[in-house]
Symmetry: C2
Subunit: 132 residues, 2 copies
């Protein structure tokens, strides 16, 4: 959001006009790996928007290999996969979300909004401690 | 918590007995910097426990310089500081929390618990999508 604002403002203006921003991140860990977290959800959203893992990776300035590994790790951690790759193999074909993939995005974004709402009192108290 | 469990169990046992773990992190950003986040709160707690920035840094396997810079950045972002350093200079003296520092820890830990509580339904739905 800041980056979009910054297009019409100088960086200095953008900083001046930006009060404290609160960001929530949830991670679901299974053993050593983060089964689900902000990176994987952003990647799912990029796949949904761009229709392939390679285009999604480019949009996030991530290597194709890393994006593919993250999607693979996510799908392995699920009962049924979040994405389906079309014919064309690892480097060529398209990739679409399954209903499970859509549901994961919806639930995850809902968590962020709900957490912020539920903690409004504490967030207000914390931001009041901050210098203007 | 896992590391404490792991002392009495082999790593393999610890993984087997650990279901999905949910972790919330909140960050309050001001401009480019994270004014408050999990790293600074953990550092405040370590200062409270160990009584100096150097001992706190050691306990978190962080350099003294980095710990000092984080505390300094935090204090500068607040109306009144979270810590007070005793005589002895940057490398020697003790460091204690002010009531503001105590309040920050309390509010931050409260946010984590509250967020998890408020999002219990979505968290359950997400963990149900995961392979056992």
């Amino acid at each position: 959001m800041l980056s979009r604002m910054a297009k019409s403002l100088t960086p200095r203006d953008a900083l001046k006009k930006t009060g404290p921003k609160v960001q929530f991140q949830m991670r679901i860990r299974k053993g050593d790996t983060v089964a689900l977290g902000p990176g994987k959800v952003a990647l799912l959203e990029a796949v949904r928007e761009h229709g392939s893992i390679s285009a999604a990776a480019r949009s996030l300035e991530m290597s194709y290999r890393r994006a593919w590994l993250l999607i693979d790790e996510l799908n392995r951690s699920l009962k049924s996969p979040a994405t389906v790759s079309e014919q064309g193999g690892q480097s060529g074909g398209g990739c679409v979300l399954t209903p499970v993939g859509e549901e994961i995005i919806r639930l995850y974004r809902d968590v962020e909004a709900q957490a912020q709402h539920a903690c409004a009192r504490q967030i207000t108290a914390l931001t009041r401690l901050m210098a203007p």
